[in-house]
């Protein structure tokens, strides 16, 4: 099966034209030189002899130059009948015989001219050459070897084209898969914003009810900044840890208004990790969970600690709160849409290489831990 693109065919024709052109120029040059060399003999000059011309002295193998286009043409034509291999085999055999015959005739022609014999003696000279053991069957072998090589080259080229096609299909599949994953991620991200908005709007409502309008205004302003930033990165699946922490700080600014002075947020961040690549809005659901299920459940609880460290080839992110331990029945259960989404995104992006887990830290407190491959962000 042949596979070619439009531009490939065009390039092929261009190459073929070049090839034919070169062959034609070579042939004209060759004929002109041979004619020039033999001009004295051709003009029947006295003392001139065919014997000393290049036509006689040069090896007969020069004939291959004239045969080359014909061989290529025939081979190209016969390739189309490769499913009828007996035809191809028979035709190539016939051609090998004809080319061998032509070489013998050419040699006999030389003998004829060198020995001043009339053309009518050509069959006799050919027969005498057989007596003398001067019939060379080498051209047949050369022809068959060349044809075999051409077939081998042709099949190799087709195989390579097949390989390229397979590779292209694989790339296309991968791209398609990536697009699907990205679409899924976008869909999951879209779920984060309504969830957060719902909680924040609840807080604002609560503040307004308690006549804490000033704080409500601050929260609205903070929320506006947060949403703007969120919209800026909406199209990006990945972000740097630095941006992620910045986003988190704005988030806590809103939450600290809600919790007044009770909330204490600590950061333990290894500076080397700031340029690490992380899924965008990965930490926010964890922080939200810590606020919802930890700080807000226990009036004594007030500490929330965010940490980031590198462990060899891995990045370890933790969100700790000193609230009550996980409910027994909830530890292995669903902890909310945000956490589920984070888990799903990690799975899609890293497979087995990433992990998310929640743990009690007796006597009190809960720690959420995310482990994922450490990859520096390609963006500056």
């Amino acid at each position: 099966m042949k596979h070619s693109t439009g531009s490939g065919t065009e390039a092929g024709w261009r190459n073929a034209r070049w090839g034919w052109g070169l062959w034609l120029v070579g042939t004209i040059a060759l004929v002109a030189f041979l004619w020039w060399d033999a001009r004295a003999w051709l003009q029947d000059a006295p003392q001139a002899t065919f014997r000393t011309t290049k036509l006689n002295l040069w090896p007969l193998e020069i004939l291959w130059w004239l045969f080359v286009p014909a061989i290529l043409l025939v081979q190209r034509s016969l390739t189309r009948v490769d499913r009828h291999w007996p035809w191809a085999l028979g035709l190539h055999g016939l051609l090998a015989a004809v080319i061998t015959g032509l070489f013998i005739i050419a040699q006999a022609g030389r003998l004829l001219l060198v020995n001043h014999l009339p053309v009518s003696f050509l069959p006799v000279v050919v027969d005498d050459m057989r007596w003398l053991g001067e019939w060379s069957y080498l051209p047949a072998l050369i022809y068959l070897a060349v044809i075999l090589a051409l077939y081998a080259f042709g099949y190799y080229r087709e195989w390579r084209a097949g390989q390229r096609l397979t590779h292209q299909l694989q790339v296309a599949n991968a791209q398609l898969e990536t697009r699907l994953v990205r679409a899924s991620l976008d869909a999951l991200k879209m779920q984060l914003h309504p969830h957060f908005l719902f909680n924040t709007l609840n807080s604002i409502t609560s503040l307004i009810r308690n006549n804490r309008t000033r704080e409500a205004e601050d929260i609205v302003a903070g929320l506006g900044g947060l949403l703007r930033r969120s919209l800026d990165h909406r199209q990006e699946a990945m972000d740097t840890l630095e941006h992620e922490l910045d986003f988190l700080r704005r988030y806590f600014e809103i939450e600290s208004i809600r919790f007044q002075d009770r909330l204490k947020v600590e950061y333990e961040i290894d500076p080397k990790c700031l340029r690490a690549e992380v899924p965008s809005l990965l930490l926010q659901p964890l922080a939200e969970n810590a606020m919802k299920h930890g700080i807000s459940k226990d009036p004594a609880a007030r500490l929330l600690r965010i940490s980031a460290a590198r462990d060899g080839t891995r990045l370890v992110l933790t969100v700790y709160n000193d609230g009550p331990p996980l409910p027994k029945d909830e530890a292995a259960l669903n902890l909310g849409i945000g956490l589920q989404n984070s888990h799903a995104r990690l799975l899609m992006l890293y497979g087995d290489e990433a992990r998310l887990r929640l743990r009690d830290t007796p006597p009190h407190g809960v720690r959420a831990e995310i482990i994922l491959p450490f990859r520096p962000s390609p963006s500056p």
């Binding site: 099966m1 042949k2 003392q47 001139a48 002899t49 014997r51 000393t52 014909a70 043409l73 025939v74 034509s77 016969l78 189309r80 009948v81 499913r83 009828h84 035809w87 035709l91 016939l94 051609l95 015989a97 004809v98 015959g101 032509l102 005739i105 006999a108 003998l111 060198v114 020995n115 001043h116 014999l117 009339p118 009518s120 003696f121 050509l122 069959p123 006799v124 000279v125 050919v126 027969d127 005498d128 007596w131 003398l132």
Partner: protein, 552 residues
């Protein structure tokens, strides 16, 4: 992808045309082909084909010898020539000759009317010049003059003064040759084309290859002179200064180069040439045209033989040697394809002009077995394996080992054939560590003594290690005699040597010459020394295709 075999119509047509063309050429007509008419002006020009390079230099002798001889003897004339019928020397450049009483000094009188092709007189000094040049050349051909006093020493550099060589131009027309030993055959030996005279200008002309562009610059004393040189050969015309020009019937001779002798034969068939010398075998193919031709055949002066080392083991016994000779079958030895070339040899010296070959050997297997039994080896039992030493290049030569098969079948004699490299074989031959060898001898002198001289050499230098004083004496005596007396002594020597069976002659070889029937006067010569001056042309009208093919 199409699955139907489809070629462009024009490609199919081209292939078909090519196939048709090739078939037509391969199966084209090969009989009754047209014969070209002789070019105008060449009606009396003999066209001779040669297939190996020729050079107009008497001291460069390429093979085959007959083309060379025809060429050189067209351009140069030696002192004597041999009568085709009797082999006796006849005057050529020399008018007469005489021997001193001890047969050590030969005095030759040159023709006063002999002229070079430029009109200069041919003098005795020209012969001395030519012969000294031959001796100065470091080629094996110089042996032709080794019988001359100090000639070999001069050739090998042991003597550097030409005056030391036994050659004297006593005056313009008198040449004296002094020999180391008596050798009455020397006169006939002077017919060798190698011993042509040289004009004072010739050496330089040959050295500078001036004859290519100025053919007339090559001054020669023969019946023809050079007038044209090209890649296709040489053109000669009858020399107006030649003393015997009245007898020369050809207007000229053209030597035409052919790629092979076989293509030369086709040139004769096509009317492009008249003579192909040195056809190694008679053409067996159907003759392609109706041009009448004749294949001339002559025995060469040589012999192929088995040589027995008579100093080795059982071969010391004459009965064993005779048994081996009797057990042969020469007719069967010769391969079918060689029937026209090889001839069974029943003597050491073949037929030659003035001397018929002797019948010295017979074949009788029963007698051979009896002789072997008498020698103590009935059925070959007890006879050690005989070692046959052959040179490496003879591997594959069926004639070399054909006898061994016969000896095993008829006598139960086993032979080990060892093919050896030259150095190892020479060492073995010198040490005498072999039983049998095979080889050929070719005479360079038209005299039986040349072939027989192998039996007069010191035993250590021969392959047979055989020496017989009486045989040597007979040959030495023959060198003091001429004519019938000499022939009688040579016959006695041959009979005596062959009776001792130091070697067994197996085959003689024939040389073939293809000539058009128009060529007249052709004669046989064992050394292929035909001279074109004796030939002429009688043109016959071309035959029509319906005429019967002439026998060849």
């Amino acid at each position: 992808m199409t699955t139907t075999p489809r070629l462009h119509w024009w490609l199919s047509l081209a292939l078909l045309a090519l196939c048709g063309g090739v078939v037509v050429v391969f199966l084209g007509p090969q009989k009754f082909l047209p014969v070209r008419a002789r070019p105008a002006g060449d009606e009396n020009v003999l066209r001779i084909v040669y297939s190996q390079a020729l050079r107009p230099d008497p001291h460069v002798r390429p093979a085959p010898i007959s083309s060379y001889n025809l060429f050189i003897l067209s351009l140069w004339e030696p002192l004597v020539e041999c009568d085709p019928a009797t082999g006796e020397p006849r005057p050529a450049a020399a008018a007469s000759w005489s021997w001193s009483s001890d047969y050590r000094t030969l005095t030759l009188k040159l023709r006063p009317d002999a002229r070079w092709s430029n009109g200069d007189r041919v003098t005795a000094a020209d012969f001395v010049r030519g012969w000294l040049r031959l001796l100065r050349q470091r080629v094996a051909l110089a042996y032709a003059l080794f019988p001359v006093k100090n000639a070999e020493a001069y050739h090998r550099g042991a003597r550097d003064k030409p005056a030391a060589v036994g050659l004297r131009a006593l005056d313009d027309f008198t040449l004296q040759v002094e020999l180391d030993e008596p050798r009455t055959s020397l006169v006939a030996e002077l017919a060798d084309p190698l011993l042509a005279p040289l004009h004072e200008s010739t050496e330089k002309v040959l050295a500078e290859y001036r004859f290519y562009k100025q053919p007339a610059s090559l001054v020669t004393n023969g019946p023809f002179r050079l007038i044209g040189v090209s890649g296709d050969g040489y053109r000669l015309e009858s020399c107006p200064f030649y003393h015997g020009r009245a007898q020369v019937r050809l207007a000229g001779v053209q030597f035409i180069r052919a790629t092979y002798a076989m293509t030369g034969a086709l040139m004769v068939a096509a009317g492009e040439a008249d003579v192909v010398p040195s056809m190694s075998y008679a053409p067996e193919r159907e003759w392609p045209s109706n041009r009448p031709t004749v294949v001339e055949s002559e025995l060469t002066l040589g012999v192929a033989a088995n040589f027995f080392n008579v100093t080795r083991g059982p071969l010391r016994d004459l009965r064993v040697r005779r048994a081996l000779a009797l057990a042969l079958n020469r007719e069967n030895l010769i391969e079918e394809s060689d029937r026209t070339r090889m001839v069974p040899a029943w003597s050491w010296v073949p037929d030659m002009p003035g001397r018929k070959g002797l019948a010295l050997f017979e074949e009788n297997s029963a007698q051979a077995r009896q002789l072997l039994a008498e020698a103590g080896y009935p059925g070959g039992r007890g006879l050690p394996v005989l070692r046959m030493s052959l040179p490496l290049w003879m591997e594959g030569d069926t004639y070399a080992v054909a006898s061994t098969e016969r000896w095993f079948r008829e006598l139960g004699v086993r032979t080990y054939v060892a093919y050896e490299a030259p150095a190892a074989r020479n060492e073995r031959l010198n040490a005498g560590d072999y039983d049998i060898t095979y080889g050929s001898l070719v005479a360079t002198v038209p005299d039986a003594a040349d072939l027989l001289s192998t039996f007069t050499m010191p035993a250590e230098y021969t392959e047979t290690k055989w020496h017989d004083d009486e045989t040597s004496r007979l040959l030495a005596a023959a060198n003091h005699k001429t004519g019938v007396e000499r022939l009688a002594l040579l016959e006695q020597a041959e009979r005596r040597a062959m009776a001792a069976v130091p070697a067994v002659p197996l085959m003689f070889e024939r040389r073939h010459t293809l000539r058009s029937s128009e060529v007249q006067g052709w004669y046989g010569d064992p050394l292929a020394r035909q001279s074109p001056k004796r030939l002429w042309l009688e043109l016959v009208p071309a035959m029509s295709p319906g005429d019967p093919t002439p026998g060849t």
